[in-house]
Symmetry: C2
Subunit: 199 residues, 2 copies
């Protein structure tokens, strides 16, 4: 393969190919597309990445991603206190927000329990969840975990840990079996939230 001095372009292709959903071929296509749209897309993208690299951070309280130490949801006075929605990851939090049906607070676990992968409660944000329930006077926790085996195992584990302290609910059936929140349309998420059932 003879591509001397194309190193900067090759570097960009190699890095882009590491993104989920892209491979070497689509990365090459993307780079040629970016070079053609240098001013309106490549340059702004470089700057946006630089800004996010410098400013993105995980909320110390809930695990959401934002640009402040405490995220905007945690510091939003208009949102209901005492009501906490537990999700697996930030993508699920964003999916809930897109649905626009929930006005309480969130807690991002950062994954699910998995004996196979050696993920125990302390690898997730479960200790912090218990702290928040006490410290923020949480009265209701909605377990909005994915309807997967690991998601439901994690939901049961958390329910065991906190059921004597708060009202617990999970999203209503409506979330398809085996389905993941981030794949659902907003209406389905909203309906499942409104029809949530007590555990």
């Amino acid at each position: 393969m003879s591509r001397p001095n194309r190193s900067e372009i090759d570097t960009l292709i190699d890095l882009l190919a590491r993104l989920p959903g892209l491979g070497p071929r689509s990365a090459r296509r993307a780079v040629l597309f970016l070079i053609r749209k240098r001013g309106i897309l490549l340059q702004p993208l470089a700057e946006a990445m630089q800004a996010v690299a410098q400013n993105a951070r995980e909320c110390l309280n809930c695990g959401n991603v934002g640009t402040t130490e405490i995220c905007e949801i945690c510091s939003d006075d208009t949102r209901a206190n005492g009501l906490l929605c537990v999700v697996e990851d930030v993508a699920d939090l964003w999916a809930m927000e897109r649905a626009g049906a929930f006005r309480g607070r969130y807690h991002v676990l950062g994954g699910t329990l998995s004996a196979l992968d050696g993920v125990g409660p302390d690898e997730l944000r479960i200790p912090q969840l218990k702290d928040r329930i006490a410290g923020e006077e949480i009265t209701e926790v909605i377990l909005a975990l994915n309807q997967t085996v690991d998601g439901q195992t994690t939901a049961h584990y958390i329910a065991d840990q906190i059921e004597d302290r708060v009202a617990l609910s999970s999203l209503a059936q409506g979330v398809p079996i085996g389905g993941e929140l981030d794949y659902l349309d907003d209406g389905t998420i909203g309906a499942a939230l409104n029809a949530r059932k007590r555990l």
Copy 2:
């Protein structure tokens, strides 16, 4: 939707979603992935994009993309003069180079003729091709255009224009009908090149 102050992250998602092969959902996934891998992926990617935005340019001679006024292939003394491979776009040139079977020079048309889209010879790099054939004393031209209707129409048009001046060949059958170079494995491209037939 309540996402105040996530504007830098939202901007990045929106820009990434404009890449071919990505949509809003995969862009969101990619951004969360990038934030998790900030040091080893997001920061290097921002810098690589900046470098490419500043340095990438189209070779004045052949239309390849590189970081110099005349690309490395055009200025490589070890490559055969007099032998020119005509391709539709830079992705096809890169596919030929990956196959490693060609050691001449290239000419990138920048597309195909298309009456429907109003693409005539002057919208492509066809005048420059004629100039190069004269100026660089080209004796053989390989028309490595895609086996599509537009690709073959363009090949016939070019053949008409230059057949009295150079030996013409096209890639051998072996390129599947309807197929595009950039989708082929390297071996197929190499075999088709070696078995190229005179027109």
